[in-house]
Symmetry: C2
């Protein structure tokens, strides 16, 4: 039995929702209220010591971190290339996502969406990071339809989540035609669903 702790607003939980839908994996979904840090309760920490979402529990085995969850649930499926080198490239893009994309787009998006004030210096700190990350994606996608191995994979799911939120974070994607084209291709994948 697979239990999935979800929170609709989060881009990281969206990745897992997308994967579960596209692989049609049976699961129980528990929706938590993430806004205002309500996932960080002592009760939830008993389940998940990280106190964050997404989180899965499969027959007593608990796993945090969206990209670790994607790789675990996709193992043996069409969404995870089987070769060692292709799998390494999936990981390369996933670590890039968590280090360069998720924070630089995800944080400004949350602040904007919920009207959380930040000092202009903090906002300015993330701007060049977001821009540099989008340029890396654009350069890759100008030459490739997908991130790894010529096919849609969990690397695309991981990168789609926050990249497609860039406009919500105040970042126009008009200057990134290859990224924009790839976003459309992801949206055309069977079983794709929109962020709630």
């Amino acid at each position: 039995m697979l239990t999935f702790y979800d929170a609709p607003v989060s881009g990281n939980t969206y990745k897992v929702r997308l994967l579960l839908a596209q692989l049609a994996l049976p699961h129980e979904r528990i929706v938590l209220d993430i806004v205002g840090g309500k996932v960080r309760t002592p009760e939830y920490r008993q389940v998940n010591p990280f106190g964050r979402v997404p989180y899965i529990v499969e027959d007593g085995f608990g796993l945090a971190e969206s990209n670790a969850i994607l790789q675990y649930l996709a193992r043996g499926s069409r969404l995870l290339p089987p070769g060692a080198r292709e799998h390494a490239l999936v990981q390369q893009w996933m670590f890039f996502e968590q280090n360069q994309v998720e924070l630089s787009i995800g944080l400004p998006r949350v602040w904007k969406k919920f009207g959380i004030e930040q000092h202009p210096s903090v906002l300015e700190h993330y701007q060049p990071r977001a821009l540099a990350a989008l340029k890396v994606l654009e350069r890759h996608l100008a030459k490739h339809d997908w991130f790894v191995g010529g096919a849609y994979s969990v690397a695309d799911i991981a990168l789609f989540a926050y990249t497609h939120m860039a406009p919500e974070a105040g970042r126009d994607l008009a200057k990134f035609p290859a990224v924009s084209g790839w976003l459309e291709r992801v949206r055309e994948q069977p079983g794709w669903l929109a962020l709630e």
Copy 2:
């Protein structure tokens, strides 16, 4: 033939140096000057489109992102647990490292080390993140000697790099006795070497 693009000051390249030493993997090492963005030259971008370090090239196969490199080079060795669940937990901790530890300790460390001025708001932005990350590590290490599977693994290498730099980032580890004890255990591992 394995080529490793290194830059001594980086914690992410240190992880790869440590792994190469501990697994005694033959390689050619190319040292780049990272300070002042000198790795971001057009020549280096021809080799590595990410324009960052570490990077490896093995018989024409290029791979970026320290934690992807660690997992790729450690496959089949004692430093990467073979089971799907244990491997997923290694990834869980590695994504946590790249998202929560590396930036919140690594950036303030670099700014302090090289006298790069930042607005106090930016410094304050990272403080609670660093503290929260160290608390997560402390809670885990209060109950476990290592991060995954009761043995030293690439998860420990990944987390050691920036955690052991916390004092350089102005963060005292005296309040984190379990973290401090684990840092010592890592230093006692065969083949361990200090950051250059």
